[in-house]
């Protein structure tokens, strides 16, 4: 498999800005590293906003109708700091919207995808640098649209799923849908770029099966986005037309609500759910596959041992992507969809658990017989594995249709996706920031404070999210501003208060991370090219890499996971180091 597949010519670096103005270097930059860092900063700011929205939700669930300290005084001064029911509906709608569309998807694909893809495959930049720049700047209309939607009426309040007909009764939904469309345009530009770059611009010797798992995750994610996103964009336009132009794709005959009679009709509300989940189910894999890839890389690096079962890992990512297109119906078991279809989707859904199981076993195989270095990124990567087991297993309950009848739309599902998306993806992202920070900024983050950050986040996240399983067991419904007026759920208040305090402490803990992050950018100890003694290609470039990335032409001799190879004396064997037969001394090329 050592045939040279990539185009070997070295690009001339001078065709795009070398010595540009500040504006063209750092703002309207076409350099993939700057764009990646722009995505990183924007998404981290939205991460903070999304976290504060979550605190609003938690406050209401712990102390319903009592005035919220500090934040409540600022935002809901008219109500004396109290969260009104329509404000509560807006809070959980926007929490999910912000976290999914403005944080997780852009931080994985936009920030890490952009930064890592050219560096890891040995390219000097993306295939289409201008398109890449546009993919970032198309996020800004989305930021403005979502930001503006907060101020229209009481804000978007139809849930992040925007189910009609409820969504058609809200004016703010127009801004929400426009925001969604721009996020879609941005992701589409990104995914086309990633696909082209990964297929066309690999360095000589970098065959597909020598790509790091991170790149495989990004590659399959880009395919998922390219095929699933057009459906959501089209559906979004259809809903926009129902809202503004009087069409009736999702409006049944003779329908009226909120004292407004719609003349058009003949549509079907369930159609939206099918179209929405046809994108949004693959989207949950878009939100986890790159994280799985990054975790695989971190695990292998700090286990100082080759990744266990590289090819099965690749095939299972591909399997998840393939099956991901035929399981969307499991969001709709009790929606009124034909129950016979429910059975089909149940079987498909059961089988999508299989590739996830294979990946988990391979991660365990990777640390078996290793020498683990408990660095901060490794702790986050290990916690990803531990937490993903919980998130994966709780999925089986929901896949089981009869059980889903009871736990559907309860806190059980809330527990499930927070274990996958927060305890899984967000923890992997934290790990990835600690891991690739030296490459991004040329300096190390503080390890001691990194571990404190990890420890507290790990404890509190389980304090917030684990009890949600128990709430779901009682049937505690999600999206209720005051669940306690139901006798069935009244006794759950103390548990909710415990969870809220864990949530407040968890958000507070992130101050440690923020300080560590910004302090280290300026004052962290300088990192060399390869501070973790890792194999993959990006660690052979300077830290931070200059324009055009590599100061030599990388030629790839092996896969990225040759740790502890008997061929060399060191415990790592970079992808660019020529085999010993080609050179007299076994010195790694730095």
């Amino acid at each position: 498999m050592s045939t040279i597949t990539a185009d070997a010519h070295v690009h001339s670096h001078d065709d795009h800005t070398h010595a540009g103005s500040f504006l063209s270097t750092y703002v309207f930059s076409r350099d993939h590293k700057i764009i990646g860092i722009q995505f990183l900063f924007s998404t981290l700011i939205w991460f903070l906003i999304g976290g504060l929205l979550a605190l609003g939700i938690r406050w209401q669930l712990a102390y319903p109708w009592s005035s919220m300290p500090i934040l409540g005084k600022l935002v809901y001064s008219a109500e004396g700091g109290q969260i009104a029911p329509e404000a509560y509906t807006m809070l959980f709608t926007m929490h999910a919207t912000v976290m999914i569309f403005l944080v997780i998807i852009p931080i994985l694909a936009g920030a890490f995808g952009n930064f890592l893809i050219p560096l890891m495959i040995g390219a000097d930049d993306m295939a289409f640098p201008t398109l890449n720049m546009l993919s970032y700047w198309f996020m800004w209309p989305a930021f403005f649209a979502f930001g503006a939607s907060f101020f229209v009426g009481t804000g978007p309040a139809s849930g992040w799923t925007s189910y009609p007909p409820l969504s058609l009764t809200s004016e703010a939904q127009m801004f929400w849908l426009i925001g969604l469309t721009f996020v879609g345009v941005s992701s589409m530009m990104g995914s086309v770029n990633y696909l082209t770059t990964i297929i066309q611009m690999r360095a000589p010797g970098m065959t597909m099966f020598r790509l790091p798992m991170t790149i495989w995750g990004m590659f399959i994610t880009a395919i998922l986005q390219a095929f699933a996103l057009p459906v959501l964009t089209a559906a979004g336009f259809m809903q926009l037309m129902d809202l503004k132009l009087g069409t009736g794709f999702f409006i049944p005959e003779g329908w009226s609500a909120s004292n407004s009679l719609r003349a058009s009709g003949g549509g079907q509300p369930l159609l939206w759910q099918h179209l929405f989940w046809f994108y949004s189910h693959p989207a949950v894999y878009i939100m986890i596959l790159p994280a799985m890839g990054m975790v695989s890389d971190m695990l292998s690096c700090f286990a100082r041992k080759p990744l266990f079962g590289y090819k099965p890992m690749v095939y299972s990512i591909a399997g998840i992507a393939g099956l991901g297109f035929i399981v969307w119906g499991h969001h709709m078991f009790v929606s009124g969809m034909n129950p016979v279809l429910g059975m089909t989707f149940m079987v498909a859904t059961m089988f999508i658990a299989l590739p996830s199981a294979i990946k988990t076993f391979n991660w365990l195989g990777t640390i078996w017989g290793s020498k683990i270095q408990f660095t901060t990124p490794m702790l986050f990567a290990l916690s990803f594995v531990s937490m993903f087991i919980i998130g994966g297993l709780s999925g089986i309950f929901m896949a089981a249709t009869p059980v889903d009848i009871f736990i559907h739309d309860t806190y059980f599902i809330v527990a499930h996706f927070h274990y996958v998306l927060f305890a899984g993806t967000a923890m992997a992202v934290f790990g990835a920031i600690y891991f690739w920070f030296p490459k991004m900024f040329g300096r190390m983050m503080n390890e001691r404070w990194g571990k404190v950050h990890f420890f507290l986040t790990f404890i509190f996240l389980n304090g917030v999210f684990y009890p949600m399983h128990i709430l779901g067991w009682v049937g505690f419904p999600r999206r209720l501003a005051d669940p306690y007026h139901y006798e069935t759920f009244r006794h759950l208040l103390p548990l909710n208060q415990f969870m809220t305090w864990c949530a407040i402490l968890m958000v507070t803990t992130q101050i440690i991370f923020a300080i560590n992050f910004f302090y280290s950018i300026f004052f962290g100890p300088k990192a060399g090219r390869n501070p973790w003694r890792a194999n993959s290609l990006e660690w052979q470039a300077p830290s931070p890499p200059g324009h055009g990335n590599f100061d030599f032409q990388p030629i790839i001799y092996r896969g990225p996971y040759e740790y502890g190879s008997p061929e060399v004396d060191e415990d790592y064997y970079p992808q660019t180091t020529p085999p010993p037969t080609d050179r007299p001394l076994a010195v790694p090329a730095h």
Partner: protein, 264 residues
């Protein structure tokens, strides 16, 4: 402490299992089941809980053991230079596949009972979700819905006969809602423009339970609650009669008032 992190991760399976073991003692588990069919769902849940529990403990303890044994600070052995094992991959592909297929097939019958095999009984009532209330319409003495003798209630106080199969026709007047009876383990979204059926049987003679709306339906979603009263057939019929009389009195009174106004 050299193995601090390994033991931190060991807390995950220990506390994880303990939470689920202790929760029922604090009434933090399934709400009381009053239905005839609900135990099937409860048993399935417990079956999946025990199965996933075993896998959870197995994998998490394995993770702890590896973190403890292969700690770089204490493990003097050289790393195992292994890229994987074909046999292992086959084993851990086929075993979960068979298990998952078994779980899938095992529960098909329960799903069909709950959602596909509608009992052959007359419709007990028609329930309509509307922002933010559950309206109910009983067929009245002629046994047919949407006739003049129907009994309509909009106060969220819904009665059902206990000890017999209840068949509901459910629909929505405006947006999506979901008719959820936690104590009977049933839930069905109602969709405007679609008519659907639900069926259940209460095995207790007399019960009053919550009706919850489980699908976001607007700012008042949280208060879209109702009370379902299950009572023996005789009491249920008496209640219907009483409500029918009340309704007639109101209609007659209304008619009289209208006449008076005409005279004026």
């Amino acid at each position: 402490m050299r193995h601090f992190w390994a033991f931190l991760f060991l807390l995950v399976p220990i506390l994880g299992v303990l939470t689920f073991l202790l929760a029922p003692y604090y009434n933090h588990a399934f709400p009381r089941d009053i239905s005839e069919q609900g135990h099937v769902i409860d048993q399935l849940f417990m079956f999946i809980l025990s199965l996933t529990g075993i896998i959870f403990v197995g994998t998490e303890v394995c993770l702890f053991y590896f973190m403890w044994k292969y700690n770089g600070q204490s493990n003097a052995e050289p790393v195992k230079y292994s890229h994987g094992s074909h046999t292992l991959e086959v084993v851990w592909t086929i075993l979960p596949a068979v298990t998952l297929l078994f779980i899938a097939i095992y529960q098909m019958n329960a799903w069909a009972d709950a959602k596909m095999r509608r009992p052959n009984v007359p419709v007990t009532a028609e329930v309509t979700g509307r922002q933010f209330n559950w309206d109910v319409r009983y067929p009245g003495p002629d046994g047919e819905l949407h006739t003049p003798d129907d009994i309509v209630r909009v106060d969220g106080d819904i009665h059902f006969p206990s000890g017999e199969e209840v068949l509901l026709s459910i629909k929505s007047a405006d947006v999506l809602h979901s008719f959820f009876l936690p104590n009977l383990r049933i839930k069905q979204d109602v969709v405007p423009g679609m008519q659907q059926y639900m069926w259940f049987k209460c095995r207790e003679p007399k019960e009053v339970v919550d009706i919850v709306c489980a699908e976001l339906c607007g700012w008042g979603h949280y208060k879209m609650s109702g009370r379902a009263t299950f009572e023996p057939r005789a009491e249920f019929n008496a209640w219907l009669k009483e409500k029918a009389a009340e309704q007639n009195v109101r209609q007659v009174a209304q008619a009289k008032e209208e006449k008076k106004e005409e005279k004026k």
